[in-house]
């Protein structure tokens, strides 16, 4: 009976019902879209960084992370000792990294030398996509950052001279024809990156068969810790670090931004909360006479409250459902087709090393969290009509 009355009551004033439901729905919609966008940008940032820098997991010789020198590298062939069978592991890439002086003509500059398996790297970090000039696949040439190329006035076909200290202090000297020029969004990298085929780099550093890191990519980032615990068994030669451990700055940046976003969401909750409260207030006011009649003919206040509570519950569910239904196609669409930014925004983002796109995350948790939060807010505000009914004075109500 309460349900029947409540159901009919909410359809009695269709306009008010739609206003209330749509303000609740709008909150859910907006919060879902906003959060999906936020999480999407994190996912993208993490994905970029993980692919380019560390992998979800990085395997190193035990001392390497504290002292990133060639002496703390390890033989690539010992990778067979790792448990690479976990189903989440998509692939891994060996890398050897160290610094060198790069010179051409009368110019010299510090450079970050990375020896990579070019074919694997093309899939892992999409390095090939950064190529602006020349060719990517090279047997003995170098791929250099565009900034470095400009500084040294060195182009495709010219010969780059590298000078460094190699494995266990040997002298490392080499000459490499420039096969291609890569364009990196991050200026630091653009002005210092030199990529060599893995074998060439190992020879240059006098570190045959050695690598400084083996980076592993997972299909499910949430499995990182689980894979980490299995990856190296109980080796006392290697360690496997997670991307969070290797990039604390990124984690912190994301956290900071996340809390910033949360503040936005709370502001939204506040604004919407007032809206919802307004409609509840209006509803209570408008129906005071009716409540008075019901109470006078013998409907206990508790029962009137139950009826109104069901109405509020129905309304809130309706609103949340509307919001979720409206948000899901949009989020799915932009998840599948990230927004491409153009103009100044795009330029600014590229300058800071981000791709100029706005990706969305598709995470059911977002929908669930926002749906529940706003439902709870609506239900909390529903306490007001309950109190108003509790305080109802029949005589006053009948005069409304």
């Amino acid at each position: 009976m309460n349900f029947k009355l409540a159901w009919r009551n909410i359809w009695r004033n269709k306009k008010r019902t739609w206003i209330t439901a749509s303000s609740i729905g709008f909150a859910v919609f907006f919060a879902c879209v906003m959060q999906s966008m936020q999480l999407g940008s994190y996912e993208r940032m993490i994905d970029n960084s993980v692919r380019f820098l560390t992998g979800h997991l990085g395997v190193h010789q035990l001392d390497y992370w504290d002292e990133k020198i060639l002496d703390n590298s390890f033989p690539e062939e010992t990778l067979t000792e790792l448990n690479l069978g976990h189903e989440s592991i998509i692939m891994g890439v060996p890398r050897i990294t160290s610094f060198a002086l790069a010179s051409y003509g009368d110019k010299t500059k510090g450079a970050l030398i990375t020896g990579v398996d070019l074919s694997l790297e093309a899939q892992f970090s999409y390095l090939e996509n950064k190529l602006r000039e020349g060719v990517y696949h090279t047997d003995n040439g170098a791929l250099i950052g565009a900034g470095l190329s400009e500084y040294l006035k060195l182009g495709v076909g010219d010969t780059l001279v590298l000078l460094s200290q190699g494995y266990h202090g040997v002298n490392a000297v080499g000459k490499y024809p420039v096969a291609g020029v890569l364009k990196f969004p991050v200026p630091d990298l653009d002005q210092s990156a030199v990529y060599l085929p893995l074998g060439i780099a190992q020879t240059f550093f006098g570190a045959e068969g050695m690598i400084t890191s083996y980076s592993v990519l997972l299909d499910d980032p949430d499995a990182t810790e689980q894979v980490q615990s299995q990856l190296i068994g109980d080796s006392d030669v290697y360690e496997a670090m997670t991307w969070k451990e290797m990039m604390p700055d990124l984690v912190q940046g994301i956290e900071l931004d996340y809390y910033g976003g949360l503040v936005m969401v709370y502001v939204l909750y506040g604004v919407i909360g007032f809206g919802i409260f307004g409609t509840f207030l209006m509803m209570t006011k408008e129906r005071t006479y009716e409540f008075g009649i019901l109470n006078s003919i013998g409907m206990k206040k508790s029962r009137i409250q139950r009826m109104v509570a069901i109405e509020i519950l129905l309304l809130s569910f309706l609103g949340v459902a509307l919001g979720l239904i409206a948000a899901s196609p949009i989020v799915v669409y932009f998840w599948a087709n990230p927004i491409l930014l153009t103009g100044e925004t795009a330029a600014a983002m590229e300058k800071f090393g981000y791709e100029p796109i706005m990706p969305f995350a598709l995470d059911p948790q977002v929908f669930y969290d926002q749906g529940i939060s706003i439902l709870l807010i609506a239900l909390f505000l529903g306490v007001y009509p309950m109190l108003a009914i509790q305080q109802l004075k029949i005589i006053k109500a009948l005069k409304e």
């Binding site: 009976m1 009355l5 009919r8 009551n9 359809w11 009695r12 006479y289 009716e290 009649i293 019901l294 109470n295 006078s296 003919i297 013998g298 409907m299 206990k300 206040k301 508790s302 029962r303 029949i394 005589i395 009948l398």
Partner: protein, 227 residues
């Protein structure tokens, strides 16, 4: 035993600011089966008196007992329940539940008393037939004329066979034809259902139909005549 006994009842509104003596020292007894009109000029205290008798408002002084129960002794929830079981209400206007059909409105008070569906059905049909509005029983209040709405209201008030029915100016919003027929129906119910009616009115035609007329002036009973 009398249905209603009011002893030296007074009502003072706003006793702390500008006191309004709406009812002054009113005593009266209503017996079962009465068909009584409370009359008097606007502001004389008719509504106030009916509200106190119906347990909708408290008395300032004196006391009112209904079927031997002093209603001032009941707490709010118990009083609501007491109204449900003992008193039928008809108000001046719009007092049906807008989202329920005429029949559902009549069943409503029985429903609150947890009557059986079959009993409710039977009683509602019976009353709606007696009221001559059986054919509109599936309509909602908005689809009924004022006169029809008031008949539904009377049917609802009668549904659970209360001790008495209070009607505060039940015909104030009705035209003369509807007024006449509503009164005839109330009189008929008074006969057939042995229902006790107490109603307030300004309307001379309504007053003419009453069998007892209590006249109020400035919150006091100035005459009480039985026909």
């Amino acid at each position: 035993m009398s249905v209603i006994e009011a002893k030296s009842v007074s009502k003072i509104y706003n006793p702390d600011t500008i006191p309004v003596h709406a009812i002054n020292d009113v005593s009266l007894t209503i017996e079962e089966g009465e068909f009584t009109a409370i009359v008097g000029p606007s502001g004389c205290g008719k509504t106030t008196l009916l509200n106190m008798i119906g347990g909708l408002d408290s008395v300032s002084e004196g006391h009112i007992s209904v079927s031997g129960v002093n209603i001032a002794d009941l707490n709010e929830a118990a009083l609501t329940d007491f109204r449900l079981k003992n008193i039928g209400f008809v108000f001046q206007s719009y007092n049906l539940i807008p989202v329920l059909t005429a029949k559902e409105n009549v069943e409503f008070v029985m429903l609150l008393q947890q009557s059986h569906q079959s009993a409710m059905d039977e009683r509602a049909d019976e009353l709606l037939t007696k009221m001559g509005i059986k054919e509109v029983s599936q309509r909602r209040p908005a689809e009924l004329s004022g006169g029809q709405q008031q008949r539904v209201a009377v049917a609802r008030a009668l549904a659970s066979k209360p001790k008495f029915i209070l009607a505060d100016e039940p015909t104030a919003n009705l035209d003369s034809h509807s007024t006449e027929s509503l009164l005839d129906i109330m009189a008929k119910m008074n006969e057939e259902e042995k229902a006790t009616f107490i109603f307030s009115t300004h309307d001379q035609r309504v007053i003419d139909k009453a069998r007892r007329i209590i006249t109020l002036e400035d919150g006091r009973i100035v005459s009480d005549e039985k026909k």
